[in-house]
């Protein structure tokens, strides 16, 4: 199970925290994080590609490539780079339990 973080915070770390859940486990982001930032500062993928089943973690960061969609526990899909994290969001990355 890939647990390493992809993104690393280098500035603006003094913001308020926002609780959410990531693959069912409690997690914490910072206010103003996108869903992409919230997830990838503590995990290495957002979803799996439907065709290759390979992990994906976004690409363009500006709403164009559509590679950063992530599922919520309710089955809704969010474009992670252009959706801000909100308290209580339940996000599911499809990480394997290997």
């Amino acid at each position: 199970m890939a647990t390493h973080a992809l993104l690393h915070r280098v500035a603006e770390t003094g913001r308020a925290t926002v609780p959410f859940t990531l693959d069912g486990a409690p997690a914490s982001a910072l206010a103003g994080d996108t869903v992409l930032t919230a997830v990838l500062t503590q995990a290495a993928q957002l979803r799996r590609n439907e065709f290759s089943d390979a992990p994906r973690a976004g690409f363009c960061m500006m709403g164009a490539c559509q590679d950063c969609w992530i599922s919520t526990a309710e089955g809704e899909r969010l474009r992670a780079c252009s959706t801000f994290i909100a308290p209580g969001m339940a996000l599911v990355t499809g990480r394997s339990e290997a």
């Binding site: 603006e12 290495a44 973690a57 590679d67 474009r79």
Partner: protein, 469 residues
Amino acid sequence: MTTTARPPVIVGAGPAGVRAAQALVAHGLRPVVIDEAARAGGQIYRRPPANFVERAAATLYGFEAARANAVHAAFDGLRDRIDHRPDSLVWNAQGGVLDVLHGPTRSTARVPHGPLIVATGATDRVLPLPGWTLPGVYTLGGAQVALKFQGCAIGQRVVFMGTGPLLYLVAYQYAKAGAQVAAVLDTARLADQVAATPAMLRQPAVLAKGIYFVAWLRAHGVPLHGGVRPLRVLGDDAASRVTGVAWHDGREERRIDCDAVGFGYALRSETQLADLLGCRFEFAPMHRAHLPVRDAAGRSSVAGVYLAGDGAGIMGADAAEWAGERAALALLADQGVAVDGARAALLERKLDALTGFRRGLERAFPLPHDWAANAPDELVVCRCENITAGTLRQTVAVNGADELNRLKALSRVGMGRCQGRMCGVAAAEILAHATGQPLAQVGRLRGQAPVKPIPIRLVTQAPADGVSA
């Protein structure tokens, strides 16, 4: 409703859209400004969320801080005099009405428009390489957005690769922010940059900035390599993380360890909306792309539709400001409003003077001419649906596809969620190479509504009311 009762609409609030809005407001109009971002500025002057307070403009925008501040201040000064629709995507344009999705509420509205200024901007121009779908590989622009907009680096040890002015700028910004830049790998050769210097001297300040970034990176021990041929992004056995980059230096294969890659080859225009509006396109050799045609003032081939900024051809942020204002003056004049003709002429002269410099940039950072020939069959070209270069070549060989939309219909390249934004340039280059045609002859991917994915329930339910036709 008469046409004149419909408000002027500007799509995009980057430097072009902001200056266009300012000019319309100065002449007494109240435009609707629709922008995908929460805050105006576009990608180049993208503002972090309001609660990001640590970094001053000088940190965020470097040498461009004064211009970024000016654009932001100009827009903030318009607040009560425009109808600003942030977080909003124009996903269709038909019959004088825009369909607009508001992201946060996931609701769509129909916005009737009068004259329309299309300032839709650009994304990175991507030429894929094996391994580019690994988590940790981002576009150069994406790497910059992560830093500017979110205060994050895409990795702890990053390789920046490709070509274009953004390559050295982003590497510089990362190093300044404290990230380790493992190397900068430029497909252009130093000889390209030397040859381009006379043309670049038309904009000595811009040239000086580029030289500064290169010198700064070198002085801080960042390895810089020119004339490289990127071979692949290396991953671990599970193909779940980046472990390095392999490239060819002209003599031999070389490798470097890293945990993230930012890459791109300058920018490409977002033209889908101009396409849906019926604008005529032509092949523009300098941009290696089909672009909507416009006159010197920004008028498209469709009456009442104006084009400005990088969305109509990559000319950069300064040109976008001038083109946005110029297009607004054209719109006003076409509506019978008296405008300052000398100002309009000055803006056209400034834009015209940039063309020579722009040619120089293309010469300094050329798109690798041998990319399609060297792309291996197993290379994933379409990251949405995992379609390979080999599949594209086979589609050409077996089905005789010789035009891009035909290739799309047969192979599905460009049909995935990104609608060809990431793969379209590469697919066209491969098609041209495989069929032996010039790039101009293989055509362009037609824009389709919705121009980006929207929730399906919005399509199946009746359009939201609020439109009195």
